[in-house]
């Protein structure tokens, strides 16, 4: 049993550090995917580097037995949490989420950390995100959600193994990791990662640090909550707001929660709170924090985008961090499929929202 204080402080620290790195590094998965269409691969390379670091680091700490928690003073080794493969949910949810992030002007982590920079649009994006998650998990869209998550694919002789990239082809996971990491790092290397940035973090440092944070979160979530779910935002945002609204995070079975002043929190819900705080500290040091607000139509679009993100992320089982960074690094098939559809959804919306209007303007 870990003390309430260490539980609280560790959660807040991980979140604040992540928010700080995101703000400082201008890290954004939304623009990483989007800018590919405009032949700019800088942010994509930062993202790929983060994935490579997270994948190698997370599997390494799993294999050398660092992952785990103490149960009555005895260390219990843990495993990386790999998400079950629900094809329809992963496809539909991922695609919706990918479209939503373009409208909202930021991804799951992006809208949270930009709250700390002072743009009120992102407060609305987060509200939309929560709204979308709640109506899907508990409300009017629950029937659709239940239908989509009904189909779950397992493999193995007893039909009980969660499919991963390595077990579906039956090879050691390190072969798969080595091949993927080699490809990712080759693409990263094309972008001259060792060139120093003029100011702030260079894209390569930002990507590297985000990857390290993902590994740290795997370790910390395993140690403090007993389940190494790693860094994600959909579930934790929901758990944070459920604690705020109803006094209980309603975390998944197996997650060790802690109760403080009568309110029950999951460990992951705590870092959600700290991400904007970390970004605020970074922004304040750089003198970039200012309260600002976009025009009304853009506010509306951002709220709509946030809601679509929430609906998509709840259906698909994760956002651009939960799936595209954390999930992908566990080699879970669910996250790879969801990530592909997040990218396709992103490109679809970029075409309709950004490319077509610009082309029409030229005529």
């Amino acid at each position: 049993m870990v003390s309430t204080l260490s539980y609280l402080v560790s959660g807040l620290l991980i979140g604040a550090a992540f928010g700080f790195v995101l703000q400082r590094g201008r890290f954004c998965v939304n623009s990483a995917f989007r800018e590919v269409l405009f032949q700019d691969y800088t942010m994509l390379r930062a993202y790929l580097l983060a994935v490579a670091v997270a994948m190698i680091g997370a599997n390494l700490i799993e294999d050398i037995g660092l992952l785990g928690h103490y149960e009555n003073g005895v260390f219990v080794a843990g495993q990386l949490y790999r998400q079950a493969f629900a094809p329809w949910a992963n496809i539909v949810g991922g695609y919706l989420f990918g479209m939503g992030i373009v409208l909202a002007g930021g991804c799951g982590s992006g809208i949270l950390y930009r709250v700390g920079e002072g743009n009120l649009a992102y407060v609305l994006a987060v509200c939309g995100f929560v709204y979308g998650i709640v109506i899907t998990k508990f409300g009017i869209l629950k029937p659709v959600y239940d239908e989509l998550i009904k189909t779950v694919v397992f493999i193995g002789p007893n039909d009980d193994v969660i499919p991963t990239l390595d077990n579906i082809i039956g090879v050691n996971k390190w072969i798969v990791i080595t091949i993927i990491a080699a490809i990712l790092l080759f693409v990263v290397y094309q972008g001259k990662p060792f060139q120093k940035a003029k100011k702030g973090y260079s894209w390569s440092i930002a990507g590297f640090l985000v990857g390290l944070m993902a590994v740290a979160a795997f370790w910390a979530s395993g140690y403090f909550s007993g389940r190494a779910r790693g860094l994600s935002f959909t579930g934790p945002v929901r758990e944070f707001f459920l604690a705020v609204f109803f006094g209980n995070s309603q975390a998944a079975v197996g997650d060790k929660t802690q109760t403080l002043l009568g309110i029950t929190y999951s460990w992951s819900s705590l870092y959600v709170l700290a991400v904007p705080i970390g970004a605020y500290i970074s922004g304040k040091l750089l003198k970039e924090v200012k309260l600002k607000v976009p025009p009304a139509d853009e506010l509306l679009k951002v709220f709509l985008g946030g809601s679509i993100m929430g609906i998509g992320a709840q259906i698909g089982g994760g956002c651009n961090i939960g799936h595209s960074l954390t999930g992908v690094s566990t080699l879970a098939v669910s996250s790879w499929v969801a990530n592909i559809f997040i990218i396709l959804g992103n490109w679809t919306m970029v075409y309709f929202l950004l490319i077509r209007p610009m082309r029409d303007l030229e005529v």
Binding site: R26, N30, S31, G110, G118, K287, K290, P294, P295, E298
Partner: protein, 82 residues
């Protein structure tokens, strides 16, 4: 001569706009300018001001200069189309 000391041919205000509108509006405005003209952009989205807009200008081979107005919390970006 430095780009920022010249009188800009156009001033574009993107204050408050969310990502990626500052970049998009900049691209649109630059399309309409002729070669040799300059534009001044007011931008308060850190990622756009320090990341996407300068990188776009650099890739196009346009002249780029930036002034961070720390007391006001935004940037003045100057781009010269070439």
């Amino acid at each position: 001569m430095s780009i920022k000391t010249a009188t800009p041919d156009q001033t574009l205000d993107t204050l408050g706009r969310v990502c990626p509108y500052p970049l998009l509006l900049t691209k649109k405005a630059l399309e309409k300018l002729s070669s040799g003209q300059t534009i001044k952009i007011l931008c308060d989205a850190p990622a756009s001001a320090e990341d996407t807009i300068p990188r776009f200008a650099e890739k196009q081979g346009y002249g780029f200069e930036a002034v961070k107005l720390e007391d006001k919390g935004y940037w003045e970006l100057f781009i010269k189309k070439s």
